[in-house]
């Protein structure tokens, strides 16, 4: 994709802070299950939405992702969704629903993971 940068987990927070300094708006985030690791893409919008910037982070399956919701509060919802749909650990979400935002108690756990048809 255009305007895409790949960063490591440690650099994520500084990159997101740079986006905030540029007055970028948070779009959404996508989580991908690539069998052996997760890939999380944060979509940001610049210039009133005309340009996009994507930040891609690769994450080992047992690793913990720092939450960006302390920088962009609105990211809390999508982080909750990722946490529910995938077996991913995210630390420090501003508003943590503890995997109970979209899924009910009796619904399947982490339904978007591979091999969970």
């Amino acid at each position: 994709m255009e305007n895409e940068i790949t960063v490591s987990k440690a650099e994520l927070i500084t990159e997101v802070q740079k986006m905030l300094a540029q007055k970028a708006m948070f779009g959404t985030a996508t989580c991908l299950d690539l069998d052996e690791r997760f890939e999380i893409i944060y979509h940001f919008e610049l210039e009133q939405g005309l340009k996009m910037r994507h930040i891609r982070v690769s994450l080992a399956k047992d690793d913990t992702l720092p939450s960006i919701s302390n920088i962009y509060m609105c990211a809390a919802l999508i982080e909750n969704e990722m946490q529910e749909m995938f077996d991913i650990k995210i630390s420090g979400i501003a508003l943590d629903f503890k995997r109970g935002m979209l899924l009910a108690k009796e619904s399947p756990k982490t339904p978007l993971m591979k091999g969970k048809e």
Binding site: M1, T30, I41, L77, G100, A104
Partner: protein, 359 residues
């Protein structure tokens, strides 16, 4: 009265769809709000991975009933982008036609619901009566009142001939006459409507930007951001200027939507008159591979589709980022401090579409 928690929803007459807001009240003033969502989560993103990619159009249309065309458009544009398909220009104009038609009927539906939320029943009936004309146009041109279902990958499925275009113009003139006479003056002037909306649920420009509000919620706060400025479909030829209000309250958001109804009307007429001759679809072969982000402006705001194909008939991943999901944080900022009586108005002023939100 001590602090009470009022369970607002999940089944509440104000909300067309189930969502719960736990309102913490002091007397009738809201001091805190916790949203509870997840009542109609259907796992569409998962279903999209199991279907062949062509059938996903019909699945995406059913993410949300009201903006079904936009979902299909966004999906098709994403796949076309990925497969490097050049869509015929007549198809692009037809897409604009139906997209603006669904924007009109979505905004009119919302306007009716807003009127109902402050108890203005005659306005509600009048708005929905005008909306019926738009739905008739939709049924006449696409075969269905709401789920137009005219998108395919590579173009559209139905054409509008000369005679039908004539009829559409007549019906739009009829709509404009009705709206000018009975809806617009009331909304612009009525003091009781202003009493209920002006200054209610203020979202400043800075807040709107930081909380990533989208659509009329964002434009009502003075940010000129509209995905149609990215000139997808035929917006480049037709030309587009976003509508912006600066007050940031419920009335500003109402005005943005009412003006957008009129703007959509103009765009439809322009699209009909500028529509070039030619094919309405190209044949698309092959399978999608790669990843792409596609965005369109839904009636409620920006819709983001992330599509990843892996060279098979099924997609690797389809991520749907919907406007209501993006607008909920703004709602949580608007509500504290308002009166209980204003909760329906403020909640509706972001035009919540819960089915979209939870997918």
């Amino acid at each position: 009265m001590a602090r009470t928690v009022i369970p607002f929803g999940p089944q509440h007459p104000v909300f067309p769809e189930p969502i719960q807001l736990k309102l913490e009240c002091e007397d009738e003033r809201i001091v805190g709000v916790v949203p509870v969502i997840g009542y109609i989560s259907r796992g569409i993103e998962k279903a999209a991975e199991l279907n062949p990619f062509r059938n996903n159009i019909f699945l995406c249309e059913r993410v949300c009933g009201i903006c079904s065309f936009m979902h299909a458009l966004c999906y098709c544009q994403g796949i076309e982008d990925m497969m490097k398909v050049e869509v015929p220009s007549r198809a692009r104009f037809l897409r604009v036609f139906w997209a603006e038609l669904s924007r009109m009927h979505s905004h009119l539906l919302w306007l009716g619901l807003l009127a109902d939320s402050f108890g203005f029943e005659s306005l509600f009936m009048q708005v929905w009566r005008a909306r019926e004309i738009i739905l008739d146009i939709s049924e006449m041109t696409s075969g269905h009142r709401i789920i137009q279902s005219t998108n395919v990958i590579g173009g559209v499925r139905r054409d509008i001939d000369e005679e039908m275009a004539q009829k559409v113009e007549e019906m739009l003139a009829q709509f404009k006459e009705l709206a000018d006479r009975s809806i617009l003056p009331t909304i612009l002037n009525d003091p009781t409507i202003k009493e209920r909306t002006v200054g209610k649920g203020i979202l400043t420009k800075e807040q709107a930007e930081l909380l990533a509000a989208v659509g009329p919620t964002l434009r009502g706060s003075g940010v000129a951001s509209d995905m149609r400025m990215t000139e997808y479909a035929a917006y480049k030829e037709i030309g587009f200027e976003p509508i912006v209000e600066t007050a940031g309250d419920s009335y500003a958001r109402t005005l943005v939507r009412v003006k957008e109804i009129y703007q959509s009307l103009d765009i439809i007429l322009k699209a009909l008159s500028m529509m070039p001759e030619g094919d309405i679809a190209v044949r698309v072969t092959g399978r999608p591979e790669g990843e792409v982000v596609s965005r369109v402006e839904q009636p409620r705001g920006e819709l983001i589709y992330y599509v990843k194909g892996n060279g098979t008939a099924n997609l690797e991943r389809l991520k749907i980022g919907t406007p209501t999901f993006a607008n909920i944080p703004s709602l949580l900022v608007m509500l504290p401090g308002c009166e209980l009586a204003d909760v329906p108005v403020i909640t509706l002023s972001i035009d919540p579409c819960i089915a979209c939100c939870e997918r």
